[in-house]
């Protein structure tokens, strides 16, 4: 598996899910994977260093993934950061809301390793244009 230099932050409030996602990403060759349990933790990481891709759950207590997305989109220095929603939320209304808010991709749980590398690379490339 080729090693990727993309830096990724996984934002997920279920600890076991965070570890699981990080393991999947590392197994796929993404070596720069950090995790955050909340929007606030993710914001601290994003302040400290450049991040290529954020993979974020929708419902995070007390904030939401959409709050983080809006924050990222408002900051000019984060315009190169791709945002991928990863959630169990699959009602059409909510999916459209996320797409309108500017997610680069939307993935419904459970995550599948197949095709994930391409999706991450595509989302990152889209933001680097």
């Amino acid at each position: 598996m080729p090693v990727s230099n993309l830096s990724i932050v996984v934002v997920e409030d279920v600890q076991a899910m965070r570890l699981h996602l990080r393991q999947i990403l590392q197994d796929l060759g993404f070596m720069k994977v950090q995790t955050a349990a909340s929007v606030e933790e993710a914001q601290i990481i994003l302040m400290v260093e450049p991040v290529d891709v954020v993979i974020c759950d929708w419902y995070l207590n007390p904030s939401s993934g959409l709050d983080l997305l809006k924050d990222i989109r408002q900051k000019p220095d984060l315009k190169g950061t791709a945002f991928m929603m990863l959630t169990a939320e699959n009602t059409k209304e909510k999916v459209i809301e996320a797409l309108k808010s500017g997610v680069d991709d939307y993935m419904v749980k459970p995550i599948s390793a197949a095709g994930l590398v391409d999706k991450i690379n595509a989302a990152a490339a889209k933001r680097k244009k």
Partner: protein
Amino acid sequence: MMSQENAQESKAGTVNRQALIDDFVTELSEFARVAETTLAEIEKDMEANRHLFQIFARMMLTIRGTAQTLEFKNVVDIAVLGEEIAVKAGGADTRPKLRKCVGSLWDVITSVKYLIVHHQEETGDEQEILINRLQYTLNAFGGARPKVDQDEIEKLLREMT
């Protein structure tokens, strides 16, 4: 917690799968406990506390998402119905409808709690009966909200970006 996790990252290597499942089950049980507590609170005053159905629905969604990852199909089947019934309950316009929803949600939470712990059991007749009963209740309230699968999402993404 984040910094500990990220610091451990380089040392962790392969996460032990059984330990990971145990962690998942522990967290799922905690979500179920929150849902149960929320339902008990709703029952104290169904009208005044109807906004809490949203929290119950969110707990069910979290349980469903995690259970899908673990392929705990029995938990997923019940949690998705619990989530939808809780959403309907929030908009129920009469007290009997509210009571009906709350009764169904107690069945949901009792079953989900059991199934999280006994996730290796095959689907039994009792679960099938419960699923049918919950589906019947949900249908009586207008059915589940429209959902989209990953293929439809990809299509929406292409259309909107």
